[in-house]
Symmetry: C2
Subunit: 177 residues, 2 copies
């Protein structure tokens, strides 16, 4: 696929952003490309457009599918697999958050809970240390519960919630200043 200068810049930047957040650069670039593309793309096209090896595209697409960020679709009369992605930014963001929560936060909750339990039983671990561990656990649990409660809201409602939060913030801010 031909990329205009602006599109190329977008894709490259997205790749860099991904890299900074622990996402493979190729994976992030491919996702950006699929997001911009006006039609599903074949792996071959992706490889050519981004100048990366065909095999790399194959692996990265698997990765994206695993994250729920790319779908395989078929075009009538074309044997090849085509790929597309969700175009609603809010939905994409929610998917990413959901995945990272499931893969990283939830296991962390488990580990931290164990650490706290173990630390409590161990007299060698100072009380204040245990309390700090517990405060992190509590923080992550709070954020986690909150996420589970808002995650199923449709994007427009979510948007309103955000704006509501901002309004409350302004109100509280005025009272404090």
């Amino acid at each position: 696929m031909d990329l205009t200068r602006a599109m190329e810049r977008y894709v490259v930047h997205w790749g860099e952003m991904g890299a900074r957040w622990g996402v493979n650069r190729s994976v992030a670039q491919i996702h950006a490309l699929l997001f911009l593309a006006s039609r599903p793309l074949t792996a071959e096209e992706i490889a050519e457009t981004l100048s990366i090896a065909r095999s790399n595209v194959s692996t990265s697409l698997k990765e994206l599918q695993g994250w729920g960020l790319a779908n395989m679709v078929h075009v009538l009369g074309d044997r090849r697999d085509h790929f597309e992605t969700e175009k609603d930014v809010w939905k994409i963001a929610l998917t990413i958050v959901q995945q990272r929560k499931a893969r990283e936060i939830d296991p962390t909750l488990g580990t931290l809970a164990q650490c706290v339990t173990e630390a409590k039983e161990d007299p060698a671990t100072a009380r204040d240390v245990v309390e700090r561990m517990a405060s992190v656990l509590n923080f992550l649990e709070t954020v986690s519960v909150w996420y589970d409660q808002v995650k199923d809201l449709p994007p427009p409602v979510l948007m309103k919630l955000v704006k509501l939060g901002a309004r409350v913030a302004r109100f509280v801010g005025r009272r404090r200043s």
Copy 2:
């Protein structure tokens, strides 16, 4: 410093979490150690406790200070620099978000704005492509503005906001089901 089993596990896990989010493992481990520690630590102590090179600790501490996540303090009668970190999890979280926003989101807003402008002027870039770029820009701007409005709230108020959001979510959820 001596680490109990639970503490060691905590520190190691935190290092791994950091690595997954694009934070240097040593940096994350050091921050976790300082967070747990009941008193400021010297670089030497940190190096020994974590079994990493003294020079590595030096660099990592600089990094943490740059993020506003570690402070140098001095202990009476001790020439060496000691380091400590904020112990309030909410404050730590806000600091991290703030830093990542400043370093990554804000520059991205600039780049995206340029991409959109350029794409709009370029007839070779399809209209729907420009619109998708713009939707990402808009999304990041919304989140950004929201953050700027809530970032100065004291943690307890923030906590209430989160709970309020959850309540609204339940309410909306009930109406929809």
